[in-house]
Symmetry: C2
Subunit: 477 residues, 2 copies
């Protein structure tokens, strides 16, 4: 321990190297406040050469390294364990946007850049980086890459992996791998880019990436629509996709249980219906054509008309029971503020068992119905909140205790989790859709992941991190 600190001190000043407890506090504790780890030091390099130097020291001294950027992980992936033998390598000072190319429609950005900063910078050039979710103001690109972050626009643009064209990374022994690339096609060997993306810092450290950009939508139409059930919601989704040529930006499932929590705990958000309906979807569609009078298409229906036509068709077919369309940007913002504040609302509501699961779209309705029945047989009166990104099959499923009976939930937590995960497995779903494994889901990983895949992951981990210093105890059980 002294050895690694001495070697780091010889190369880095006290801005880069933090060793005091009060300096380390914000890095060793996770976002939720539930996980508190320990670290020898926090080291904050400014460029890839420094990352390489740090990793060489860590490799030589066999010191565990926990890579961290925004530290907004909800799976415990970005904080060290309590052993206290690790250093935290924070990428927050590597936060440059190196290049934005409007003609190539790409941006190259460092791991410590805050997601929302990238949004703003590309939007200044009428471009759009679609990765988006509640933590955008504090999460950083490095963590987005490490966890293959998803969010609300995946239905149209895919996850972080789908948006990334190339990366640069440092290996566990400090070698620099340059796979930064603005190429849309490149078949020169194994897909190491995608192997590092989503590896949660267990194979090496991604220091920068080149991303695809898109044309900034110049018009958006947004609605809160009441639907009879999930099956009908999916019919509405398919119709909307077909009618817009795939321009559905978001398709979010919002159940009554969530709206009741909003009413109780977050009155700052506006629920657009007098009475809380049993099930809603928040839909956004977009267009890029109505700008700057470039063409003579003025006779084309504006995007709100397209949305209204979709909803009207939905009414006729029974997919939709009621709907409120945002008529101004501020009304649209209200709808999204509530959606983006969901994790805070749900956290405020108190004790719960939370899941981050995904299912094939045609299995979601069955799953939700089955869960109600199966958990009811364990404890009566559980509140199920099947909030989620319906467009991509991802539910942030929460189970709240019966009123005034938190203990019953805690006592039966293991059994409830098993019931949920077993059902997920039966329907070909995933026990970790977008938050990753971190330290929280290691037991599910051991139990539910295909055993041959797990064996191969372990073999790759051993090969690329032979001293097991890269974020040890995360992702791999």
């Amino acid at each position: 321990m002294t050895d690694v600190i001495n070697q780091l001190k010889a190369k880095f000043n006290s801005v880069a190297l933090l060793t005091e407890e009060h300096e380390k506090a914000k890095y060793v504790n996770d976002w939720s406040g539930k996980i508190a780890g320990k670290a020898i030091a926090v080291i904050r390099p400014q460029n890839i050469m420094e990352v390489s130097e740090i990793m060489k020291i860590a490799f030589d001294t066999a010191t565990p390294v926990v890579p961290q950027s925004g530290n907004t992980s909800v799976a415990g992936g970005s904080v060290p364990n309590t052993k206290g033998d690790a250093i935290i390598l924070s990428l927050e000072r590597m936060n440059k946007i190196r290049e934005i190319s409007p003609s190539a429609m790409t941006a190259t950005v460092e791991a410590g850049c805050i997601l929302e900063t990238l949004h703003q910078k590309v939007e200044e050039q009428d471009l759009f980086f679609p990765l988006n979710f509640g933590a955008k103001g504090s999460c950083m690109i490095g963590g987005n890459l490490a966890t293959n972050a998803g969010g609300q626009n995946v239905v149209r643009y895919g996850n972080t992996r789908d948006l990334c064209l190339g990366i640069e990374a440092v290996t566990s022994d400090g070698k620099i791998m340059n796979l930064l690339s603005g190429l849309r096609k490149d078949n020169t060997g194994y897909d190491l880019r995608d192997l590092y993306i989503g590896s949660e810092g267990t194979l090496g450290i991604i220091t920068a990436a080149t991303f695809k950009l898109f044309h900034l939508p110049t018009e958006r139409a947004t609605t809160f629509a009441v639907v009879p059930d999930i099956k009908n919601a999916l019919s509405l989704l398919n119709h909307a996709q077909s009618e817009t040529g795939g321009a559905v930006e978001a398709f979010e499932l919002i159940p009554d249980v969530f709206l009741q929590l909003v009413k109780k705990h977050a009155p700052q958000y506006v629920i657009p219906f007098k009475n809380i309906p049993p099930l809603c979807v928040l839909i956004e569609i977009s267009g890029t054509t109505h700008k700057k009078g470039l063409t003579n298409n003025d006779e084309t229906a504006p995007i709100n008309t397209t949305l209204e036509n979709i909803l009207e068709f939905g009414f006729e077919k029974g997919f939709v029971l009621d709907a409120v369309v945002a008529t101004s940007e501020s009304q649209r913002r209200q709808m999204w503020d509530m959606r983006e504040g969901a994790l805070d609302v749900i956290t405020t509501a108190g004790t719960r068992i939370g899941f981050d699961i995904s299912l094939p779209l045609d299995k979601i309705q069955n799953f939700v119905e089955e869960m109600k029945l199966n958990t009811e047989s364990i404890i009566s009166g559980l509140q199920m909140c099947h909030m989620g990104h319906l467009g991509d099959g991802n539910l942030h499923y929460s189970i709240f205790p019966p009123e005034n009976n938190v203990d019953s939930l805690l006592k039966n937590a293991a059994q409830i989790k098993s019931v949920v995960y077993d059902s997920i497995e039966k329907y070909g779903g995933s026990f970790s859709a977008e938050h990753g494994i971190g330290s929280n889901k290691l037991s599910a990983m051991a139990k539910y992941k295909d055993p041959v895949a797990l064996e191969i992951m372990k073999a790759i981990k051993n090969t690329l991190d032979p001293k097991n210093i890269m974020n040890p105890g995360k992702l791999i059980p």
Copy 2:
């Protein structure tokens, strides 16, 4: 050798196991007729259990295995070398489409299924699988996955990797890994799916995959447009993307050299201009809304009007000099037949040096100009054909000899290749955009691939294929 044959004979009949020279002929020779390998036998399993049994035998006897599906590789990846110690594992009898789910918009299909068969089957259900290129009538899904095949619709839908949600595969020692999945989000560990996709059969054998499907475009507008240069063509592309909300299905670059070859060698194709213009693009845009009178959008401009508006804007800005818009499906088909027959036309034209390269979009113009100058200094009068998928930066660049001087090209081939590859490297491009490495590009791989990436690839190969029996001598130099 006798050992492996005896073990295979004990388990497989003479329909599955081919050992006679005349039976093996079509499997040991590649598509171009230029590469002729040798094999002990061809084994044609019918299901994944049989693939697993074969791999266990191969592993025990340390027999090299060359996986093969449609055998349309242009990089030598699907045929054995001339040692004669390998077996070819042909997936052609594993050709089932296991499931098409219109509600989940997915298809699960085996490796031996011909790409065009999948097209036809999903189109029967008004769905669309966008992977498309000239070889579609004979290439198979397994090879598409092994090479991460690209083609003409990548600009909108991405490569094979982008279209694939999950795979099942057999490891070098015969274990079965089930990562088949219809999930849009699944962050449970390392991305083994994408590691196997594009690994050219060197890590294991992909036996089936689940793919994303899309709504079948119900209207398409297609044009041959004359452009002043590549830079203006890209301005046209960006405008078309913006005006259609990203509905550009294809954006193909077609230079005069190619059209002259068509005139000379392939009079069956229709060139839509009286005089051959210096540079054209073949553009296709699509829509899904105008179908079955579902909505009252009849006043919306049909897709041809959208295309005409785009071209008109291009005329005004000088992006476009002339254009022919297809007015019927047969005229559209004529345009595509010529594009899809390009490899045949170019092959018929005789000796050439062919490249499959990609560049960042904003570097293509510079590269093409530089190549003309730099190769001219080696031999005068070379004919450069920079055909390609401009929308995704992929050029199928061919260099033909000066008239009546084939020898000069052959004599200077190494130097010409170096000039091209060095320039590609300078501009951050790729020496193998979509065809893969196979056996043809091993020396470029050794010279131009990032050395740390190459080292990691070799380590992964050694870990997952410890006896080096999976398509040895391919991809990894």
